[in-house]
Structures are given as structure tokens and as C-alpha cells.
């Protein structure tokens, strides 16, 4: 017999994780673009502040992800075994 509460919880957690991951993808994209800009204009104060703000937001998202959704890099603490290797991997539809 399926424990409906657990299944529903898992479903909610999965949706939550997908949403957090999409937010992280958006922030990381902004960071990459800012990095490219700063590479060529390393003294631009506005860009430097923007970069700082983005990093702050990223830190919060990464923490939330790490707590409930598994690692994004192998350089993070793993919970409950070596999660890093477990699927789905990024090119698979389930990961997106």
C-alpha cells in the first residue's frame, strides 16, 4: 500500500527541487555573463557590485539545494551515501 503522505511529500520535494535548480541555472548564467564582462572591464564598480549580489543569492540557493536536493558539484558534503553518482544525469530528460 502506497503511503500517500510520503508520496505526496516526495512529489512536492521533487517539484521544489526542480524549481530551485532552475533558479540556480538562472543565477549561474548571470554570473557567467558578468564574469565575461569583468574579464574585459576589471575595474567596473557597478559590475563588481552586481557580481557580489549574485554570489550572495547563489550561496542561499546552493544551501537550500544541498539540504534537500542533493549535490551540484562533487566538492560538496554528501548526505546519505555518495549521492553524486546517482541519476538522473544532466542530459537525461528527468533532470530537466
Amino acid at each position: 500500500m502506497i503511503d500517500r503522505n510520503t508520496a505526496r511529500e516526495n512529489g512536492t520535494r521533487q517539484t521544489n527541487c526542480k524549481m530551485l535548480k532552475k533558479k540556480l541555472q538562472a543565477v549561474d548564467f548571470a554570473i557567467v555573463e558578468t564574469t565575461l564582462y569583468l574579464d574585459v572591464y576589471p575595474d567596473c564598480q557597478k559590475a563588481l557590485e552586481y557580481h557580489k549580489r549574485l554570489l550572495k543569492e547563489r550561496r542561499m540557493l546552493a544551501e537550500a539545494l544541498q539540504q534537500s536536493c542533493g549535490p551540484v558539484t562533487a566538492w560538496e558534503e554528501q548526505q546519505g551515501g555518495w549521492e553524486w553518482v546517482k541519476g538522473p544525469w544532466p542530459w537525461e530528460p528527468d533532470a530537466n
Binding site: 535548480k21 532552475k22 540556480l24 541555472q25 549561474d28 548564467f29 557567467v32 564574469t35 565575461l36 574579464d39 574585459v40 576589471p42 549535490p71 551540484v72 558539484t73 562533487a74 566538492w75 553524486w84 544525469w89 544532466p90 542530459w91 537525461e92 530528460p93 533532470a95 530537466n96
Partner: protein, 153 residues
């Protein structure tokens, strides 16, 4: 050195496999103007550059192109999974499939394996940056024809 983030730069989720489309998109993987060529170009040009700004941007763009390579591969992977033998035989993807099945082998649409000849690295700032401009400007040309295609620079 490189660290791998276990996520695509932008999500890829394709509902229906389509080998016909894969035959065209594979040029973005292994073609002269594709992501493998781009990443190899930028990452190898950076060593001879005399300016920090250029070393930085070639490193960071080269790295980003590897992430793009991964997205193109994800697209191709999702376009070619779960195909029946009939679907494969009757698609332009059939010849590729003979040697590679659903493996992802960098080739352009012509089927000739990826070649470093597509990449210019001369160790001269102006020359190499011009190579980059030429490669980047070729992208609007390589993309499938569409009315909404952005105009080249």
C-alpha cells in the same frame, strides 16, 4: 583546472525523439562552427595571449563553450533515444547510426569526423582574435534557416 557542475547551463527536455532533426543539429556538436571547435579554439589560443583580459575571457568563454557542447549533446541524446529500427532506417540519421548507434560522436552533418583543421591557433593576438570573429559570425549562417533568425553582426 575544471570543476563540473552537475546541471546543464539551460534545461533541455524533449518529449518526442526526432532523428531527422538530429542529423542537422549534430553539426553544432562536431562541425567547424560547433561547440567543440569553439571550446578548443578559445582554450588553446589563450596560452600565447600577452594580456590578462584576453587570457581571462578566452578561458571563461572556452569553458562556457564546453557547457554548450554538453547542452547540444543532451539535445541529441534526447532526440535519438527509444527509436525503433524502422524509424532509424528511414531517417537521414541511418548512416550515422551504423557506426555509432545512440552514442554521441562529434561529426558535422556531412559525417566526416571532427577535425582540428577547423580551428586556427597562430599565437598572434590579432590573427587569433580575427579567427574568433570569423568563427562566431559563421553561427547565423550555420543555424537552420528561419524567418526569426537574428541578423549577423
Amino acid at each position: 583546472m575544471w570543476i563540473y557542475d552537475k546541471k546543464l547551463q539551460y534545461p533541455v527536455k524533449i518529449k518526442n525523439p526526432n532523428p531527422k532533426l538530429a542529423q542537422v543539429i549534430i553539426s553544432q556538436l562536431g562541425g567547424p562552427d560547433g561547440e567543440l571547435a569553439a571550446s578548443m579554439r578559445y582554450l588553446h589560443q589563450r596560452y600565447a595571449m600577452p594580456y590578462d583580459e584576453i587570457k581571462g575571457i578566452l578561458t571563461d568563454v572556452g569553458t562556457e563553450e564546453l557547457a554548450h557542447l554538453e547542452m547540444v549533446a543532451a539535445i541529441l541524446h534526447q532526440l535519438t533515444r527509444n527509436l525503433s529500427e524502422e524509424e532509424i532506417k528511414n531517417s537521414p540519421f541511418a548512416t550515422y547510426f551504423v557506426d555509432h548507434t545512440t552514442g554521441l560522436y562529434p561529426v558535422p552533418a556531412s559525417g566526416v569526423p571532427f577535425d582540428m583543421k577547423y580551428v586556427g591557433v597562430k599565437g598572434d593576438v590579432i590573427t587569433d582574435l580575427h579567427e574568433d570573429l570569423a568563427a562566431d559570425a559563421a553561427i547565423p549562417q550555420a543555424q537552420p534557416l528561419s524567418k526569426n533568425r537574428p541578423k549577423p553582426l
